[in-house]
Amino acid sequence: MKSGIVVIVSFCIISLMQVSFLPHLSIAGWTPNIVLLFLLIMASFTSVKIGIEAALTGGFFLDLYSYLPFGSWIVISLVFFITARYILRNYVRLPQYI
């Protein structure tokens, strides 16, 4: 429960940074999507439950600042997280130093 709240608040802040801060750091008009970047990191280090919570929160906030039909970014984030997790679990071996 506690971790869920932390994830929701964190992704709320990340999404607000995406729409209000990242446009200042754009290169040739192209802005990186840090919500998807954080989801990619979460896909390799956290559980499915926390990842899905993060994808739902991030997707919801991106949907607020999008012209696409509501729910598009929620679906994109979920599919991205699940695909990234599947690829990382099955085809990528992360180096372990411990």
Partner: protein
């Protein structure tokens, strides 16, 4: 809880789909409510972004000297224009003509940018008298775009560089009329300038009231390259827009 999700996968899926559908139907009000809720925080984040961008942008000594000289030249021109404006006013009075209407400006702050398109979010909405199609300018009278979707306390601003957008423009100093087409990522193209008209790199592009979208003579940008071909009836080129998202915190909405 976990077993509930496994057991009732279909119900959970249906609940999720219906929630998304409900949100889609009322997406306007959901977007409006949430953006106005977060707008004070977003305004602060946007300002901090502008401050950071300003602190990292470097201007060379030569450029500073160039700008100082340009400033002196412009001050001289400004004086003569002020004299002309006074003279103009006196003539209007003598002829009994109505004074030129000033803009009714509404101050607004930028709170964010759409994820995919060249669309900014402003912290003023229908409650403050903002309507769709209203032009938006900077403090320096540079045209930025027009108001798109309007919510109760926030509104979307379609930039001139918005992909698919087009507005009537003219070359400053000459009555050469063309069309400015947005191509996204803060870039725009000048188009439909007749071949017989002279178009040079460095020409300043201003707004034209022909299309009824924007008022006359607001600065837009500078022609950086020209595309001319004998096979086409028109010429065009790339335009570097004067409005830079990274450097602006606030804008003005023209209400009249």
């Amino acid at each position: 809880m976990h077993t509930f999700f496994i057991k009732y996968k279909l119900i959970v899926l249906l609940f999720f789909v219906s929630a998304v559908l409900i949100l889609s139907v009322s997406s306007g009000s959901v977007r409006g409510t949430f953006t106005s809720l977060f707008s004070p925080m977003q305004s602060l984040i946007w300002k901090s972004g502008t401050t950071i961008t300003d602190s990292f942008s470097e201007v060379s000594r030569e450029r500073v000297q160039e700008l100082v000289e340009e400033n002196f030249a412009l001050r001289g021109k400004l004086l003569s224009f002020e004299e002309m404006a006074k003279e103009n006013e006196r003539l209007r009075e003598a002829l009994g003509a109505l004074p030129k209407k000033e803009f009714d400006l509404l101050f607004s702050e930028i709170i964010g940018k759409e994820v995919e398109r060249d669309v900014l979010m402003l912290n003023k909405g229908a409650k403050e008298g903002v309507r769709q199609g209203m032009p938006v300018i900077t403090q320096g009278r540079v045209a930025v775009g027009t108001i798109g979707e309007v919510f109760l306390h926030t509104a979307k601003l379609h930039l001139l560089s918005l992909k698919g957008g087009a507005s009537d423009v003219k070359v400053q100093g000459r009555e050469v009329v063309g069309v400015l087409r947005g191509i996204g990522r803060y870039r725009a193209l000048l188009d439909l300038i007749p071949q017989e008209e002279e178009l040079k790199e460095g020409d300043v592009i201003v707004t034209s009231s022909l299309g009824g979208l924007l008022p006359d003579d607001l600065l837009i940008g500078e022609v950086t390259s020209i595309e001319k071909s004998d096979l086409t009836a028109f010429q065009g080129g790339n335009v570097e827009l004067f409005f830079q998202v990274k450097k602006e915190n606030s804008l003005f909405i023209l209400r009249n």
